[in-house]
Symmetry: C2
Subunit: 229 residues, 2 copies
DNA sequence: CTGCATCCTCCGCGATACTG
DNA sequence: CAGTATCGCGGAGGATGCAG
């Protein structure tokens, strides 16, 4: 069926409304979040977005593809299959994702039992926590171990690159969080553990203090949200 | 009924997911958009969000209030009634709104017939178009007339303030757009008119060129989106 | 095994009518 | 002016089937 996707729109000529028409539907921005970190296959996305129904994922991918945000291509020789990537337009959503993540992080309560945390989420939340003003001129690299999840951050003269897995040529400091029972491997939990000293370090301790300054925002406007039962 | 709001959640311990749980539902961010510019009453919101069903607006306001984003209060003496305001938490959403608006503006096609544009949207999209690097050190003020909508921008040593209505003590330059038939009074249309010279100026012309530099982004990643029929 | 399509249920949204 | 009440529909959630 090639019926011309009759999406609901807001009938407003406004950038914000347009953005919400394109990526405002349920799960859409989380799909983009995961793809921002690296290309993924269908089943990777299913795992990262625990709980997404298969038909919804399939629908979102088609919509995002038609909107020019996602590209679908068949993977080469080893481990063939379909791989989804962001287009240039899709990558341009990262500042919005980071801004939303900054705000949302301040609204996170305690982790609920059953909550999961995807590695991709951790990377994006790390980027959201980044404070450029504190990083000016710095050059260093960190490897963060959140349970099985390993992510890294590297500063080159104050500029940040970050992603999944370890730093290629070895990090200046490896920080391993000692999570408590039931603490999900989320960036927020990592920061909490770090602040409380529940970490093991492999590298100069001063770089740990630097990390805390550069990669954590003030826990300002936190609130006790009424916990949904 | 006081049933404990059983919102659907993403069951992820991630700032982005949390943000989407709180403001990801239909119309929610547009309500916040309008309230970002100034406090509004119920009927003001209905008008700015043309097409929102009354029960949905009512539901969103309750949810946003319970999330600590919106405050509901009874207005004082003259013109009593209910007025909705953003809390500090709600105001903290502005960077995310601006980032979404920047991205969405690049994805706006031609205005469809029937599309409207709210003054609040124009203000937020103006803020999104602001290029701090181009404004460094500048001090000046502009009044923009988009049909009946009047908004203003004022730079004080590179810092921006903006809002609805004219500048209080008179703008350095008043720019009146000459809209074509059917062009909605959106910021994007204003920029288009300005670029094409369809404006009347009241003030020094050089300030017009400054305006174009400071308040319009490169029309980069535009695309011809398949126009929904 | 991956990458979906299909089926069914149910809730949220849209539209309209009506009330304190 | 500021909502509530009602109803129909479409899309989300969840389970399962199935082709390459």
């Amino acid at each position: 069926m090639v019926r011309g996707v009759k999406r609901r729109d807001y009938a407003q000529y406004c950038g914000i409304a347009r953005a919400l028409e394109l990526v405002g539907e349920r799960w859409a921005l989380l799909v983009v979040r995961d793809l921002t970190v690296r290309p993924r296959r269908y089943t990777d996305l299913q795992e990262g977005l625990r709980g997404i129904p298969t038909n919804v994922l399939s629908t979102r991918l088609k919509e995002l593809e038609q909107a020019g945000i996602v590209e679908r291509r068949v993977a080469p020789a080893p481990r063939r299959g379909v791989v989804y990537t962001l287009t240039e337009v899709g990558r341009a959503l990262e500042p919005a994702l980071i801004a939303l993540g900054r705000w949302g992080s301040s609204q996170l309560g305690e982790p609920q039992p059953g909550y999961v945390a995807s590695p991709d989420g951790a990377v994006l939340n790390l980027r959201g926590a980044f404070q450029p003003s504190e990083a000016a001129g710095l050059t260093a690299s960190w490897e963060l171990r959140l349970g099985d999840t390993v992510i890294h951050a590297r500063l080159a003269d104050g500029a940040l690159t970050s992603g999944l897995g370890p730093v290629e040529d070895g990090a200046d400091l490896v920080i391993t969080a000692r999570f408590e029972e039931g603490e999900p491997p989320a960036y927020r939990s990592f920061v909490k553990a770090a602040r409380e000293g529940r970490v093991d370090l492999d590298g100069p301790r001063e770089l740990f203090d630097t990390f805390l300054r550069v990669f954590t925002y003030p826990q300002a406007c936190e609130r006790d949200l009424p916990t949904p039962r």
